[in-house]
């Protein structure tokens, strides 16, 4: 049996670059913080050409290449990319192992024969079309296939293994840093040099890791693959030849994606718990929206309605050139209400109603208000209704023993006449008259560090009809914030 390895060099860099829409052939470097220092962890081929190598500090790297772009590792995108590689690999064989980040090992079906060009056509070219840098190697053992893949450009099937291995750098075996340092101090830099060392001495002096390293070069060193269990996320993705300008064709594609996902999940007796829609636009921007389903389901009509409602109210400046729909799979019976979730007679209907409301009122204006930890009066944000309340971030409420305030939302615009710099007369839509008694001012300010800086002065005032109200002044603008009950 032969093994193929699908290898994405500089995997973390590629994952981060892909997310930012940067082709990996640009001058890029991935930074990583080690202790107090930030160092280059991975560099693109073009960056390496400028002398930027892993281990350099960010400043050193910039010194060597002023046009270098830095990226930060993005674990979520790395998972996405690994999934993509896995899914691509399954097109070759069902026996697929996620060996390491950026490394997929495939047990090739014995009945089929693959050449470098056929492998490139089946696996390499589609991934390269997605601007991914992929290398593929084939050999009689998984480890040798990995070595071939690391050496490949972009596909390599070695004909004579010993000739192939001899000049390869030791680093391809990725020994631990300790072992690597010892071998370096011994002057062992290639696999050929490693093979010249007596195996017994090697093990006596360097322990089992050295043996493992040597055995990776052996033809006998096959092993069963850890074939992957079913995925928990399923994705449909399409890059469009002709950009889409209107909603209709987009909905058509989405419907098709949903049906395909539905079939794949149905085969495994799974349902969708969450859906994530990503749209790619011509101007290199993306739109991503996660739909948390109130109850896991596989009802395509219902899922479609939810996406439809969202897209109906969505507009973009650029045309859509690609889309991706991902479903989080779950078992139909695994969900259970927790203490803070309420049961609905028709949770999907509720979710849909909320979506319609949000479409009407704009995003962020539907949900449960949560008080923010700020001195700014009445500072809140809306939390989605079907999420758990953010108990941990709710600030402790100050203990007040005064009258409760009934707030006007939004506050009433008002005109206030001043006497000796104190409010004397109020004119507003609902409350007007001379101010008979005053308390204040109470002053508050904040967010001075950016454009949202605010400053407010508050007064409590009594009107002749006995009502007590709260006035607030921001700059020259007066408002009636509320009345005391």
């Amino acid at each position: 049996m032969n093994y193929a390895v699908l290898h994405a060099p500089e995997f973390r860099l590629q994952a981060a670059a892909r997310h930012r829409g940067l082709p990996s052939d640009q001058v890029l470097a991935l930074l990583e913080t080690m202790g107090n220092k930030t160092k280059v962890a991975e560099a693109s081929a073009k960056a390496r050409h400028h002398g930027v190598y892993p281990g350099l500090s960010s400043a050193q790297a910039l010194a060597r290449c002023a046009s270098l772009q830095f990226l930060q590792a993005d674990p979520a995108r790395e998972i996405d990319l690994q999934d993509l590689l896995l899914q691509s690999a399954t097109s070759l064989s069902p026996w697929v192992e996620s060996t390491a980040p950026g490394v997929i090992t495939i047990a090739l079906p014995p009945e089929k024969t693959f050449t470098e060009s056929s492998l490139h056509q089946i696996l390499g070219a589609p991934l390269q079309a997605m601007e991914l840098n992929i290398q593929i190697g084939v050999a009689p053992t998984p480890d040798l296939a990995l070595l071939a893949a690391r050496y490949a450009d972009p596909v390599h099937i070695p004909k004579n293994l010993s000739v192939f291995l001899d000049p390869l750098p030791l680093a391809l075996l990725q020994p631990s840093s300790d072992l690597s340092a010892i071998l370096k101090s011994w002057g062992i830099f290639t696999l050929g040099a490693l093979l010249t060392l007596p195996q017994e001495d090697l093990v006596t002096k360097l322990g089992p890791e050295a043996l493992v390293l040597r055995e990776k070069l052996s033809l006998k060193n096959t092993r069963p693959l850890h074939v992957l269990p079913p995925l928990d996320r399923y994705m449909e993705r399409m890059e469009l030849e002709d950009p889409i300008e209107t909603l209709e064709p987009l909905l058509f594609l989405i419907r098709r994606f949903l049906e395909q996902l539905g079939k794949r999940l149905q085969l495994l007796w799974l349902v969708a718990g969450k859906l994530q829609l990503t749209l790619f636009f011509e101007n290199k921007t993306t739109h991503q929206r996660l739909f948390v389903l109130p109850q896991p389901t596989l009802e395509i009509d219902l899922l479609f309605r939810m996406l439809h409602t969202h897209l109906e109210n969505f507009t973009s400046e650029a045309m859509v050139i690609g889309l991706e729909l991902e479903a989080w799979a779950t078992r139909p019976t695994t969900d259970q209400f927790d203490l803070f979730q309420q049961g609905f007679r028709d949770p999907h209907q509720f979710a849909e109603t909320l979506a319609r409301l949000e479409a009407l009122l704009q995003a962020g204006r539907v949900g449960v208000p949560q008080l923010e930890n700020s001195h700014r009066p009445d500072q809140i944000h809306m939390q989605a209704c079907i999420e758990k309340p953010e108990l941990s971030v709710t600030p402790p409420l100050p203990v007040f023993h005064g009258l409760p305030l009934l707030r006007f939302r939004p506050p009433l615009s008002a005109q206030v006449d001043l006497q000796k710099n104190r409010p004397a007369f109020l004119k507003s839509e609902r409350l007007s008259g001379p101010l008979q008694e005053l308390r204040g001012p109470w002053k508050a300010s904040g967010h001075w560090w950016d454009k949202e800086a605010w400053m407010q002065e508050e007064w409590d005032a009594a009107l002749p009809n006995g009502s007590l109200c709260r006035l607030a002044r921001t700059g020259l603008t007066w408002k009636v914030e509320g009345i005391y009950a």
């Binding site: 010194a63 001495d201 109470w442 300010s445 560090w449 950016d450």
Partner: protein, 1031 residues
């Protein structure tokens, strides 16, 4: 209505206050407040500065402190009299010394012991009553009130009320009024001031974030509600408390009771024990004259003796005899313990100090101005700074002072670390929630000196990646400017010690230093000096250690040197200086010094003194270095500024180089009295701000005008004074340093093996790395031998053939104990084989590997890799044949020269093999070698390359940079203009090997390259020796 603010915190409350005491003082001045009390948290850190400012304004600086209690509440205390002050200091000291730094807590149970004379306030939102009032727990509030009453009594306890326009505060005020009324206590209004002006609240918010390790977006209600806690005027406060006017009037009554100010500190320098029937003045006279005989001082003629009498009389008049005796006692201790000691600074102007062995210069012979050291107008104590060998020997002297005066009688002075440049931006960036990556880049990019005349902070920030339109950029810039100079934390001064008659902890609170066994005062050296607290500087100098070690080695090798009577007319020593062959010597080894030496061509000792002083930021700022050299070379006529100054300036060819000359000029041209000259001296050395100097200079100008001095002459004199203000350098100090510079050159010429061996054993020090020092020595013909387990000691030694053997201390990663074990085992019985050594010395794996890698086992192995092969693997401790030589075949190839070089740099930071450039020379035909530069003509285009050994950007060089490159033939120097540096900053600062293309500058035997382009050189080796950068 009169009002005195009695509860203010300064930035010396460390992250709990937003303004300096000086800012609070000027705000109080503007508001017309007659007095102000700063109550810093757990200390009286800011009190001296407020005192100093208020003294000038004729106002009273009241003293107080906020104490953190064991339950976390904060109790403000105010000081009524000296006894109360002593109590407060002792209480703070006790709490500080028993807790880790920054975590002091006062026990309620210990308050009664120290309450005498202290007035307590019930505090603000952190006060002891606050928790009970917030939770509306009347019973608990009563309990706390009773506790406070029991400790302080009703006369010394005031109920503090504050109003900050915050909703809900009236409940607190009303609760406090009820409590005051029920206990018959008086109300006292304060504003709980945290900053001088409203804008200070931004700084406080920044500090709040730093204190809580959060950022502004998350800090929420931790931040200031509004900007009301600034220093308000009496009218504003009266308006705020118009319903409780008595709370305002009580502030003045309390302020009247606070009689104590820092003028009444009660500090006394310790008396020195003298013989019965003798006083300290007599004892000093006896010791001085006895020393003339004991030390066999030459030239002690009548002139010298009359100077001694004059000095002794003045010392006695000023009451400083005890001080001299105590310093002499420290010097005596050092000498008795074989510790080299030499005074520096203005003490060298004193014949008494010379006789007592504190200084090495005869001031009469050198015509030094005694008034620079001590004058009749002097109110503060004179400075006697002692240079000691750095390291253990200096620590021994410091610990001796601690043991003599006790933990509460002596302390190191503090050193206030302030927010500057990168540290400021880093903290601001954290609080503004800038990405960590941006902050790291800012630090990385500008790690080596920020020069605002070459790059603005806004540009720096943008270069680091912050867009100009970033919404938080204005706030960042605002904060950056505001927090410059604000205290960040309290460190300890490098060597300043204060001692006291009796308890120092009654004069100033003491706290633990981060270094074990050290105690620091809460005030820095300027504060101590301003308050008349005497300081003895025990400074560590690496060169003193080198000289002491060189003397010892010379003696051991049978060629001792009489250091006190070193021949100062030694021609080979001056020739060395004239050639600028001064790598490794004291002071005159820097790039700038080496560029001046061939022009200066020192011929006598005083030339060395001038050389030491001339390459100082002061003279360069004042544009004085070049005139001196030009005049010396006869290219420019000598100008004494004014005929009356000829006597003062003749030694420096009319160029004022020393502070003494400056003082004399002021005395001659402006008729300054001794006191005025003293004030000029102090203002020249006062680095905090230039207002003080400006006042003195204005006086000087006025007096010169009155005297009819021409404006052009006045201008020259004032300009000279301005340049000295930044970097004052007295002549006596230059002489002391010149002596060390001369001596180190003498040793380099006449005791080279001993000198280099001592230099290597005292690293890190000086400008150059051990690698450069070794290469310099080798160029002088000295031999070095590598680290070897059979021959090396723990430190470097000189072997019989005059070669220096590197010590095991140079092997990176080899523990000191392991090195000592190797030497000890070898002395017990010689090692038979590598295996024998490994069995007997129990070295860690990494230690075995590194010793093999640097060739320390080569005596048994054919090559380093053979040893590496042999040391690998598990050691069988029960192997009976362990001491037999190993016979296994080694399958590894020997290291190549480049690999050996890399191993050397990796393992010892230096190589005894070829310079890395020698290995690349064949492929660098376009590069001119360092030694060939002298043969090229001025103005010729040239390219140099090498390992960077030094990058310098002197503060006075307007951002220009000097780079030294080393190749196999020597050192070449390049000058990089600031614009080129800014353009290629990263290449210059981060590459270990550089190729510099430019134009040759050859002038008066000084050769350098004016850089036009700089590139990273494809490294001959993956590692290099460390360079000395931007020091």
């Amino acid at each position: 209505m009169p009002y005195v603010e009695l509860h203010a915190r300064s930035a010396f409350s460390f992250l709990r206050g937003g303004s300096l005491p000086e800012e609070l003082a000027s705000a109080a001045d503007v508001q017309g407040m007659s007095a102000l009390a700063i109550c810093d948290r757990n200390g009286v850190y800011g009190a001296p500065r407020l005192h100093g400012e208020f003294k000038k304004m004729g106002r009273r600086a009241l003293v107080g402190s906020e104490l953190t209690m064991e339950d976390g509440t904060v109790l403000p205390l105010l000081v009524t009299n000296r006894k109360a002050y002593q109590n407060l200091c002792r209480l703070i000291t006790r709490a500080q010394l028993r807790a880790p730094k920054g975590e002091s807590r006062v026990l309620w149970s210990e308050l009664p012991e120290f309450q005498e004379g202290l007035i307590a306030l019930t505090g603000d939102e952190e006060g002891p009553l606050a928790p009970a009032l917030v939770s509306n727990d009347r019973n608990q509030a009563e309990e706390v009130m009773k506790k406070l009453l029991r400790i302080f009594g009703s006369k010394n306890l005031f109920v503090e009320i504050q109003r900050h326009h915050s909703r809900g505060e009236e409940r607190m005020v009303s609760g406090l009024r009820q409590l005051a009324s029920s206990h018959g206590l008086k109300l006292l209004a304060t504003n709980g001031v945290l900053y001088a002006t409203p804008s200070g609240s931004e700084v406080l918010d920044l500090f709040t974030c730093l204190r809580h390790h959060t950022h502004l977006d998350l800090a929420g209600s931790l931040l200031s509600l509004n900007r009301e806690r600034y220093l308000k005027s009496p009218a504003q406060m009266a308006c705020l408390f118009r319903d409780i006017p008595e709370a305002i009037t009580h502030t003045e009554q309390v302020a009247d009771r606070l009689e104590f100010t820092l003028r009444d500190l009660g500090y006394h320098f310790p008396s020195f024990p003298v013989r019965e029937g003798e006083n300290m003045d007599w004892a000093l006279r006896r010791e001085t004259y006895a020393a003339i005989r004991e030390r066999k001082i030459k030239n002690a003629d009548s002139k010298f003796c009359s100077q001694l009498d004059k000095e002794l009389r003045l010392i006695a008049e000023l009451g400083f005899s005890g001080y001299f005796l105590i310093v002499q006692d420290i010097v005596r201790f050092a000498r008795a313990h074989d510790i080299l000691v030499q005074g520096r600074g203005s003490a060298a102007n004193s014949a008494v100090c010379y006789c007592l062995g504190m200084t090495a210069i005869n001031p009469v012979k050198e015509k030094l101005l005694f008034e620079r050291f001590l004058s009749e107008g002097r109110t503060s104590w004179p400075d006697i700074d002692l240079d000691l060998p750095s390291g253990d020997r200096r620590e021994k002297v410091i610990q001796e002072v601690f043991s003599r005066y006790g933990k509460h009688g002596a302390a190191m002075t503090a050193n206030v670390i302030t927010y500057r440049g990168r540290s400021a931006m880093r903290e601001i960036g954290k609080a503004l929630n800038f990405p960590e990556e941006y902050l790291k880049r800012f630090s990385d990019l500008f790690a080596n000196g920020d020069f605002h005349h070459t790059i603005e902070v806004t540009d720096q920030m943008m270069k680091a990646g912050l867009p100009r339109q970033h919404p938080r950029l204005p706030a960042a810039l605002r904060l950056y400017n505001r927090i410059q100079g604000l205290p960040r934390h309290l460190g300890q001064h490098s060597g300043g010690m204060v001692i006291c008659q009796g308890r120092l902890d009654q004069v100033v609170p003491l706290e633990n230093a981060s270094m074990p066994g050290r105690v620091v005062t809460q005030w820095d050296k300027d504060d101590c000096a301003d308050l008349g607290i005497i300081k003895v500087d025990l400074l560590g100098l690496g060169m003193m250690s080198v000289i002491q070690d060189t003397l010892k080695l010379s003696e051991e090798r049978g060629r001792p040197v009489d250091f006190d009577n070193l021949n100062k007319k030694d021609a080979p020593t001056y020739e060395l200086m004239q050639r600028a062959d001064t790598v490794g010597v004291f002071q005159i080894e820097s790039r700038a010094q080496m560029a001046t030496l061939p022009r200066m061509k020192p011929k006598i000792f005083y030339d060395v003194v001038i050389e030491v002083s001339i390459i100082r930021p002061g003279p360069i700022v004042g544009d004085l270095a070049h005139p001196y050299l030009a005049r010396r070379a006869g290219k420019e006529p000598i100008d004494y500024i004014h005929p009356e100054l000829e006597d003062t300036l003749s030694r420096t060819l009319g160029v004022p180089l020393f502070q003494e000359q400056m003082l004399k000029m002021a005395m001659v041209m402006a008729d300054f009295t001794g006191s005025e000259a003293e004030e000029l001296r102090r203002s020249l050395g006062y680095k905090r701000n230039d207002q003080r100097l400006n006042r003195v200079l204005a006086n000087m100008r006025e007096k010169m005008t009155r005297k009819g001095v021409a404006p052009s002459v006045q201008e020259k004199i004032i300009k000279a004074a301005g340049s000295f203000a930044l970097y004052g350098f007295p002549e006596s100090h230059a002489i002391s340093f010149g002596l060390l510079a001369y001596a180190s050159c003498w040793f380099k010429v006449h005791r080279a093996p001993e000198f280099y061996c001592a230099l290597l054993n005292n690293q890190p020090m000086g400008f150059y790395s051990p690698d450069t020092l070794v290469k310099d020595a080798k160029r002088r013909g000295l031999k070095f031998k590598p680290v070897c387990v059979l021959h090396s000691e723990v430190v470097c030694i000189i072997e019989a053939d005059d070669s220096v053997r590197l010590g095991l201390n140079y092997v990176k990663g080899l523990q000191r104990q392991s090195a000592e074990r190797i030497v000890m085992e070898r002395k017990l019985k010689s090692f038979a084989s590598l295996s024998d050594l490994l069995h007997r010395c129990a070295l860690a794996k990494d230690e075995r590997r590194i010793l093999a890698e640097v060739g320390a086992f080569n005596v048994w192995s054919h090559h380093r890799r053979a040893a590496l092969w042999e040391v690998e693997g598990r050691l069988d401790t029960g192997d009976l044949f362990a001491n037999l030589p190993a016979k296994e075949a080694v399958p590894l190839l020997a290291m190549t020269p480049v690999e050996r070089l890399e191993s050397d740099y990796n393992g010892t930071s230096l190589t005894l093999g070829p310079n890395p450039m020698a290995l690349r020379r064949a492929v660098l035909p376009h590069i001119t070698r360092a030694s060939d530069l002298v043969h090229l003509r001025h103005g010729q285009s040239v390219t140099i390359a090498g390992m960077v050994i030094c990058r310098q950007r002197p503060g006075t060089a307007k951002g220009h940079v000097f780079i030294s490159l080393e190749d196999e033939t020597g050192i070449s120097n390049a000058f990089v203009r600031s614009d080129l540096f800014e353009r290629l900053r990263l290449i210059i600062t981060h590459e270990s090997y550089l190729e510099i293309e430019g134009t040759l500058q050859s002038w008066e035997d000084v050769v350098s390259v004016m850089a036009k382009d700089i590139r990273a050189l494809d490294s001959p080796a993956s590692v290099s020796a460390p360079s000395h950068d931007f020091h």
